[in-house]
Amino acid sequence: MYTIVTLATFVTMGLALVRAVLGPSVYDRVLAVNMFGTKTVLLLSVIAFLFGRPDFLDLALAYALINFIGVLAVLEFFRSRSLRRRAERGATR
């Protein structure tokens, strides 16, 4: 039964990868990475039970906690980039 969920997650990871490679906009890629992260958390929690070592859920917990940082870093990157561009435009005017 775990195998079915694992396979579904695998296929979804593949689909998210398709989205990340195709794009087209950078936001699509961020979305794909975020989705990939959630799917990895699910995959790791299910596989921990599939292999019979539920004490390894720490790994999924780590991802559940810090995947968010990547998205925020991207957000901050966009924000500082738009500020920089505005400043450059102001300077050349």
Partner: protein, 326 residues
Amino acid sequence: MTVLFGVFLLSLLVITAIAIVRTENLFVAVMLMGIASLLIAANFFILDAADVALTEAAVGAGISTVLFLSALALTSERERSPTSRKLLSFTVVVVAALVVIYATFDKPRFGDPEAPAQTHVAPWYLEKTPEYIDIPNVVTAVLGSYRAYDTLGEVFVVFTAGVGVLFLLGPGTGAAGQRTGPTDPGAGLRHHLIPRVVGRVLIPFILLFGLYVQFHGEYGPGGGFQAGALIAAAIVLYALLEGERQALRVLPERLLVGLMAGGALLYAGVGIAGMALGGNFLDYSVLAGNPVKGQQLGILLIEAGVGITVTGTLLGIFHAFAARER
């Protein structure tokens, strides 16, 4: 089944790697690196390396993306020059790949218990750890005690890399500070209310989890390297939300440099304490009356040293990059 899972994940990894090399947009390459890191961590997990997977998770999910993005913000987002000597490089790479693949036919089959790697020292480590050190996690035992020299060296490499980054990008080098725009990029995401509220909820839990990983490293996957990266990730999250300057106010630069050096010194100090008590360098058996207890105490102390140095170094590097931006 493990083999099939591995085959699937590795195929995705190859596709990701090729996409990373092909894209000319460096931002996209960094995003795809994030996916590659997740795939690698899942692979490590399937290959029974829970500790390694946790390290990859702690480093790859937060710190690595943040560092690459700050470097991109300081340089450029696009590759401007076309690929050079494309055909020649491609030929070299394909020939080399074929040679390596040809060499793999002599390798032992995947998972072979009779492979040379499995038959020499590894059984000894597995057999003797309950007797000599008596902790369940053999990886921590090997890392902290049997091969403590190695780990000491690695800690000093991390320390040196951190010092190198501070020398390159620290205050007073090059053009830093000359670019004073009308904006304040050091302010962070203060105006994004929802991420800020949720992020602030998460920070204490990440710190708590980091401490759990640090001190539970003898019993489950974890240890100083993972914990250091996790705690650094929590502080980086704080810096992203509240602005980098506020984070520096909480953990000033001096303190970070102190942590960097202090952790490495604690590690080396444990080794010297062992010598002072009549043992060899990094022999913990003499630290307590009972050799097994001494080993456990020694591992606890050096893991703490590793955690402190890794936290200090990663945060020092992050601040060095972030300070350039403002």
